[in-house]
């Protein structure tokens, strides 16, 4: 606590001790992640447990989760700018910065999973395969990252509610929606993968992104202030006590409805393979941890007015929701490939997949790279009149 109240020259400015601790944690985590994942740099795909039967495994789930987290954070931030919400200008700069860092983590996880990541940089834009949803996701994501960088530079000089910043927020919001929509289409268009197929998939992705963004926003703003609202300026405190937790609760309830609808329709689906996959899924402890610990418990914590205003409770609920959302992303990615396509007796049941240590290393690398980039930006580049935000 003493570390946070020392910054009396700039009320609301986070303690350097916390940002330094975040940076050290990020660097250590990144080093651990790289140590675990290093075989992929020398052996390529051979170092991974995924392969021909399970083409997209934990690394793709990691990339998708981080990408959705980034888009979600930016949507939470941009909504404040787009609609001129009072007080949100005190949280938006940090959310944009975090969104940019999480995008870097997502891109790193994707690059470690691809067979030729360097080639992707030129082969995708130069060949313009406009029928592929992956191309459009890349276009939206690229514009989004550029806009985020421009916004970060801008917010060093002007407020988030200034006219130009609000216009840029509109563009960021649109690129987020475009990237989320096309990423949902990557899965939702696959009629040959019935677990993924359908118009609900892009919407499911969008909803998951919003909840991830709100949860990460609550977690990191509270973390920055040492899980205390004492040193927040009044406007920020109001957002963190009265607005964001309520939005989080509403998002959680909405997400619970979406998940329930998805599971129930999956269990009753007549399409070959869908029902067995969902029956298998609901028989795992991972699924019930996701539902009970990642959705229902956070709802219970946020439902009580006296509880949801407390930073520590907000932090716990946010962490639980983030873990639950990651499990959901993993389950979604894997379950769509569990019905074997023309494998015969080689694969008599559902395709089995267990991530290996290298794939866990990619997850750790992506997550802690995001944390490191965020902490470096906060520690060394957070200057100017609005640095407290």
């Amino acid at each position: 606590m003493s570390a946070t109240v020392e910054n009396v020259d700039q009320p609301g400015k986070p303690s350097p001790a916390i940002t330094t601790a975040t940076l050290i944690s990020g660097a250590i985590g990144l080093a651990v992640g790289l140590a675990l994942a290093y075989p992929v740099f020398f052996e390529g795909g051979r170092a991974l447990a995924q392969g021909t039967n399970m083409a997209w495994g934990l690394p793709v789930a990691t990339y998708a989760f981080l990408a959705l987290g980034s888009f979600g954070l930016s949507m939470v931030a941009a909504v404040g700018g787009v609609f001129g919400l009072s007080g949100w200008n005190r949280i938006t700069p940090r959310l944009y910065m975090l969104a940019l860092a999480v995008s870097f983590g997502a891109i790193a996880a994707l690059a470690m999973e691809l067979g030729h990541p360097i080639r992707a940089i030129w082969a995708i834009p130069l060949n313009m395969q406009i029928q592929s949803p992956l191309l459009w996701m890349g276009v939206f994501w690229g514009v989004y990252v550029v806009c985020l960088l421009a916004m970060m530079l801008r917010l060093r000089r002007v407020d988030a509610l200034e006219r130009g910043s609000r216009r840029l927020a509109v563009v960021i919001l649109l690129t987020c929606l475009g990237a989320l929509f096309t990423q949902g289409l990557v899965y939702g268009m696959m009629s040959m993968r019935p677990v993924w197929y359908g118009i609900g998939t892009p919407l499911y992705y969008m909803y998951g992104a919003i909840l991830t963004g709100v949860a990460l926003a609550l977690l990191f703003i509270n973390l920055t202030h040492g899980f205390s609202q004492d040193n927040m300026v009044a406007a920020k405190r109001r957002v963190m006590r009265d607005q964001l937790p309520v939005i989080f609760l509403v998002a959680l309830v909405g997400y619970a409805i979406v998940v329930s609808a998805k599971i129930i329709t999956g269990l009753w689906a007549p399409t070959t393979g869908v029902q067995v996959v969902y029956e298998h899924m609901v028989g795992t402890g991972l699924f019930w941890f996701e539902v009970l610990g990642g959705v229902l418990l956070p709802i219970a914590l946020m439902a009580a007015p006296a509880m949801r205003t407390r930073p520590a409770v907000q932090g716990v609920a946010a962490v639980l929701a983030v873990v639950g959302l990651f499990i959901a992303r993993y389950e979604f990615t894997v379950s769509g490939q569990q019905v074997p396509l023309f494998k015969g007796s080689w694969v008599p049941g559902l395709v089995e997949y267990s991530p290996n240590i290298v794939e866990w290393g990619i997850l750790v690398t992506g997550a802690f790279l995001a944390l490191t980039v965020y902490a470096v930006a906060d520690r060394f580049f957070n200057t100017g009149p609005y640095s407290a935000d």
Binding site: G115, H116, N127, M189, M192, G336, L341, F342, G344, S345
Partner: protein, 250 residues
């Protein structure tokens, strides 16, 4: 320009897997990278259990979903109707493997299916994923022909290095014709019971068209809209329904 297609008569196929072996030898594929696989299934319940088999090459679809989803255009369809991969453009995202309804795309840069790992026994040179003692001299990475490099997806090419050299205007590539046998895909040429036929689907005079018409050729998974250019003849033209519970009990 022909539109090459294949007809497989399941009433003639004995499941000998000579096609799989010939394909692997011709294209230097690794174990598990079965461009031309013969799938075996159990059907029925004890004591009336049957083993069935199903030969499965790439379907070389008319509307190939793999081509549509490839973000770099590495997967493309030739004018003569064959789906190929440009290994110089492939980034190894594996989206085409997700989008293929027939599971006929392979990512050889993965954990070995069998031990010893042949990539370690015969380490690759010049970017090749492995370096077997015998290698087909035909190599063209822009068409996915030859020994693949690391980090790319591979698939059946209909032995494009052979069929693309065939004389113009040929209706069928028949291994019994001495003039044409060198242009016949390896799986067709080696098929002992002569269950496979290869020809021009756009030529009304071709034997493949006659067989499809007279024996009511069927295509797999028509509901996907991919429109395969591989047709099946015979009574057993469908794969048994996916039923993991049966397999677990057995």
């Amino acid at each position: 320009m022909p539109k090459w297609g294949m007809v497989i008569d399941l009433d003639k196929c004995t499941g000998c897997q000579a096609c799989s072996t010939a394909c692997a030898m011709e294209n230097n594929t690794l174990p598990g990278e079965s461009w031309q696989d013969v799938l075996f299934y159990h059907e029925g319940e004890h004591p009336n259990v049957q083993i069935k088999w199903f030969p499965r090459p790439c379907m070389q679809c008319e509307n190939p979903s793999c081509v549509y989803v490839c973000p770099t255009g590495a997967t493309y369809k030739t004018e003569d109707g064959v789906v190929l991969i440009d290994w110089n453009k492939c980034i190894g995202c594996k989206y085409c493997m997700i989008a293929c309804p027939y599971g006929v795309r392979f990512y050889a840069d993965e954990e070995p299916l069998l031990e010893p790992d042949l990539r370690e026994v015969f380490p690759g040179e010049d970017g090749q994923v492995w370096n077997p003692p015998y290698q087909n001299p035909n190599e063209d990475w822009s068409k996915g022909i030859g020994i693949q490099p690391k980090g790319v997806v591979s698939k059946c090419t209909f032995c494009y290095h052979r069929i693309s050299q065939a004389p113009d205007g040929v209706a069928d590539l028949d291994e019994d014709d001495p003039e044409l046998k060198e242009y016949v895909p390896a799986c067709v040429r080696t098929c002992a019971p002569k269950a496979r036929y290869f020809g021009d689907l756009d030529n009304p005079e071709s034997n493949v068209n006659r067989l499809i018409a007279e024996k009511r050729g069927t295509r797999l998974k028509e509901e996907t809209g991919n429109k395969p250019q591989v047709y099946y003849l015979g009574e057993h033209g469908t794969v048994p329904k996916f039923d993991p519970e049966f397999d677990n009990e057995s």
